[in-house]
């Protein structure tokens, strides 16, 4: 018997069938993963269960009895709780206030916080969910905000818990803790639905896995008996090479040289302390580290987004420490930025305009100060063809309406087409699905094989290990290790990242 069963669910949106006749059963006490690429229909299905959408067809059963869920309040009554990808918290309320919001206990209209506090404390101890009850949400970390969301569900005695891509915002350590919590909750009899597109996490956490592709249920498998390759094939519909084939690197001359770079922070602590390294032609140098250990400051200093306090940056021997951003570009630096919406694209410009963001003032894209729209479009069409960028109206499409993967392809195409000496890629695969990640990794390797210097900044350990030729680990604004990925284990790398270990030679 299933605690929740969704039968023949069909949900249509104009022009698209988001869920096509999906049947899914959740057993009591299991962690059930829902795997699929972006847009496969995972979130839609869960929104139907949570009452945010009404399905055209199909029914939902709880403990074998048909139930009618017309809104989140119905779902809550049935004991269904959901942690959304973007948290639903009141930022200037405390943790405790957020947890009890909507189910406050009152006496003559006065809040009874004492009982609530006691109950939340018990829950947080039982499930090892460490939170600071009296801090306002805006002052706590994303990881703690997520724990608040989980406590909200537990406080309401929900027994069916939905997690929508919960690991997307977490550090490796936080992910580990989250998975432990989920296992803990499942052992206590809670039933968990876990949306993700990361195979490793499914392997670690889930008992069973249902795979969706283009709105259809491809199948439900037993996780222990299914390999990652098999699951990824179900998800994408074709074979993917999870491990990349790499040629031996042909290391050339030094391209980027960073010397004694130090950036002062707001407080007494430096953001970056005495960073020295170089990147050579034909290699991918990866900077690994947990988010917020100075990687962004380092990239901003190298690319010119922020001014350098002390130290030097040079490309092929030319000092560019204080050069303008445009000058760095002409010296051969390309930059795939961390935040593609903030820095990488002008979302309300069309695709063609975005491909000439650094080159619009050069011939043939302008003549006497007038844009040559025909030439720009021609150039964009070449890139669309070469990099297989998909957009409904070709080079005329407004970038905002395009998918994340294709937006990233525009940036990649633009930066590679500038034929740089140095390509700086900051978390280039963040938030993308497996197919797009594979594509971007191949392109980065192709650049390296062409003799370009590639500086990759990544938070994903797997990415670090798979495609880099050399790894620097950053911890609290310093480089604590300089290692060859072939001679190091995940675990060891994790120790460097957490600051528990430090290479003598680097320090």
């Amino acid at each position: 018997m299933h605690i929740i069963e969704m039968r023949n669910i069909t949900k249509k949106f104009p022009g698209i069938i988001a869920n096509d006749d999906i049947t899914l059963g959740l057993k009591k006490g299991e962690i059930h993963a829902l795997l699929g690429e972006n847009g496969a229909g995972k979130s839609t299905l869960m929104s139907v269960l949570f009452g945010l959408y009404k399905a055209e067809k199909g029914e939902i059963l709880k403990n074998g009895e048909k139930v009618n869920i017309t809104g989140p309040s119905d779902a809550t009554k049935l004991g269904i709780g959901m942690v959304h990808q973007h948290f639903k918290l009141v930022h200037n309320f405390t943790v405790l206030e957020n947890i009890i919001l909507g189910v406050e206990t009152t006496k003559n209209g006065v809040l009874q916080m004492k009982d609530a506090r006691q109950k939340v404390l018990e829950l947080s101890q039982k499930y090892e969910l460490e939170v600071d009850l009296d801090k306002e949400i805006r002052y706590i970390t994303v990881g703690m905000q997520q724990r608040v969301e989980i406590l909200k569900m537990l406080y309401r005695n929900n027994e069916i818990l939905i997690f929508d891509e919960p690991t997307a915002v977490l550090t490796p350590q936080e992910i580990e803790a989250l998975i432990a919590t989920m296992r803990n909750m499942a052992a206590e009899g809670k039933s968990i639905l876990f949306i993700t597109h990361k195979l490793d996490e499914i392997k670690q956490a889930a008992d069973r896995c249902s795979v969706l592709r283009k709105g259809k249920l491809i199948g439900t498998v037993d996780v222990a008996a299914t390999s990652k390759e098999e699951m990824s094939e179900m998800m994408v519909g074709r074979k993917l090479s999870l491990t990349l084939t790499k040629k031996t690197p042909q290391i050339g001359e030094t391209i980027l040289q960073v010397k004694n770079l130090t950036q002062k922070g707001d407080s007494q602590k430096n953001k970056l302390t005495n960073i020295t390294f170089d990147v050579k032609a034909g290699e991918i140098l990866c900077i690994a580290g947990i988010e917020g250990n100075g990687q962004t400051d380092l990239v901003n200093a190298i690319t010119g987004l922020t001014a350098v306090d002390s130290g030097t940056v040079a490309i092929s021997g030319v000092n560019i420490t204080n050069a303008s951003i445009r000058n760095r570009g002409t010296q051969g630096m390309s930059h795939i930025p961390e935040d593609r919406h903030k820095h990488g694209l002008i979302l309300d410009y069309n695709l063609a305009y975005n491909t000439v963001l650094q080159n619009y003032y050069k011939t043939p894209f302008q003549k006497m100060g007038f844009l040559q729209k025909g030439k720009i479009r021609e150039y964009a069409n070449q890139l669309v063809e070469r990099f297989d960028i998909r957009a409904s109206e070709g080079s005329n499409s407004i970038v905002r309406a395009m998918s994340g993967g294709n937006q990233q392809k525009i940036i990649l195409a633009r930066e590679i087409a500038n034929s740089p000496k140095l390509l700086i890629a900051v978390q280039p695969t963040r938030g993308l699905d497996v197919g797009a990640i594979e594509y971007i990794h191949k392109q980065l390797l192709a650049q390296r094989d062409e003799g370009k210097a590639v500086l990759l900044i990544s938070l994903e350990l797997e990415e670090v290990m798979n495609i880099s030729d050399r790894v620097l680990v950053m911890y609290e604004g310093e480089i604590v290790a300089n290692v060859n990925p072939q001679n190091i284990t995940f675990k060891e790398l994790g120790l460097y990242m957490a600051g528990a270990k430090r290479e003598a030679a680097v320090a």
């Binding site: 022009g15 760095r328 979302l347």
Partner: protein, 389 residues
């Protein structure tokens, strides 16, 4: 060329002429209700006057265009800033400053022959508007002061400063306002008085309406066709991305404000050299044209060609409204009725275009999705080919 503009304007904003007209009619009905509440018996006659007065004679239509000119200029000023990501609420101060400088030159630069003096006066008006707008621009670029705050301040400073300057330099105590500029420094009429006239007198319409239209075309070309416009718009749409791309975003902000201010300043200069005996009064009131520019720009969807039409429409309503006073309506009621019409139209247009955008975007996303599914097989074929090469 003109057809191309119109086509783009209509397509780009997702509107048809029919629906715009429908919105205006709905707005009129609402304005009618206001008039009805105030004075039920005269309301039908009043609304008919508002609707028909502008077209009742060529002279009256000439008046409409004459009053449309300054608000088209301030509308372009607001619209240009808006397109580049800035909200220029300071058009009032820039307008006033431009007006003062133009009037001062027309009165005092006797060493210049009149045709040259007009050109010098208008050029100086543009410069004055540009410099006055550069202040909020500089503050925004280098001190991150929000332009709305600094624009409001420069409006008041501009108004009081100009009042002081009028009092100390070109004051005419008999009129309690600035002196009249000599007729030789009036902007040429170019024979418009023989077209826009009736039995009693001709409309003061002059060449400045052509300058306004030309300014709109120029704005369109700069924003849409030049690398300069590409930079300005890029900064307006996404300052961080513009910086990332190596565009000097501070310089762009300052230039945007200065161009915007130049348009308002030119509007002020032309308005007070227009030959209708207009003088600058010394009152502690901000120039209304600057604020009308916001409505004009909003109603014209911030598009230069749309701004010409919305400027004419608003002037049309105002002329009609002015002429229902004999029917016994208080000036305040008329202004409320007109404002209701304008803001209703602007509001509906805004909501419609925003909604239209959302619908278009959603459709595009789903379109991509379907295309993606259909292309899947060809994609894998392509990627294997890529590997072989």
């Amino acid at each position: 060329m003109k057809g191309d503009f119109m086509d783009k304007f209509l397509k780009g904003s997702g509107l048809s002429i029919v629906s715009s007209v429908a919105v205006v009619i709905a707005g009129m009905l609402l304005g009618f209700i206001v008039l009805f509440i105030s004075n039920a018996s005269q309301a039908p006659a009043a609304i008919v006057t508002i609707l028909t007065f502008g077209f009742s004679s060529l002279r009256n239509f000439g008046d409409v265009l004459y009053f449309a000119t300054p608000i088209i200029m301030t509308g372009l000023s607001v619209g240009f800033a808006y397109k580049t990501g800035l909200f220029n609420i300071g058009a009032s101060g820039q307008f006033t400053f431009g007006a003062f400088v133009a009037v001062y030159i027309a009165l005092n630069f006797e060493f210049l022959a009149p045709p040259l003096r007009i050109i010098a006066a208008l050029a100086a008006a543009m410069l004055a508007g540009a410099l006055w707008a550069a202040i909020p621009g500089l503050l925004k670029a280098y001190r991150n002061v929000h332009e709305v705050i600094s624009c409001i301040m420069t409006n008041y400073i501009g108004m009081f400063l100009v009042n002081y300057l009028i009092l100390t330099t070109i004051f005419d105590p008999m009129r309690a306002s600035s002196q009249r500029v000599p007729p030789s420094t009036h902007i040429p009429i170019w024979g418009l008085d023989s077209i826009f006239t009736d039995a009693v007198r001709a409309s003061p319409l002059n060449a400045s309406i052509f300058v306004a239209i030309f300014s709109a075309l120029l704005m369109y070309i700069i924003l849409d066709r030049t690398t300069f416009g590409y930079e300005l718009k890029a900064c307006g749409l996404n300052k961080d991305a513009a910086k990332y791309a190596g565009i000097n975003e501070n310089r762009s902000i300052i230039f945007s404000m200065m161009i915007s201010g130049a348009l308002a300043g030119l509007g002020g200069g032309m308005h007070f050299l227009s030959g209708a005996g207009r003088t600058m009064s010394v009152a502690d009131v901000l120039a209304n044209e600057g604020f009308m520019g916001i409505s004009v720009s909003l109603l014209g969807l911030n598009h230069p060609i749309g701004i010409i039409f919305s400027g004419v429409l608003i002037a049309y309503l105002q002329r009609g409204g002015f002429n229902i006073q004999p029917l016994g309506f208080a000036q305040e009621i008329i202004e409320i009725a007109i404002a209701v019409i304008i803001y209703f139209c602007a509001f509906v247009l805004l909501v419609r275009t925003q909604l239209g955008n959302v619908i278009a975007k959603t459709a595009a996303i789903f379109g991509n999705f379907i295309k993606f599914g259909a292309d899947k097989s060809s994609k894998s074929a392509k990627s294997t080919k890529g590997k072989a090469v």
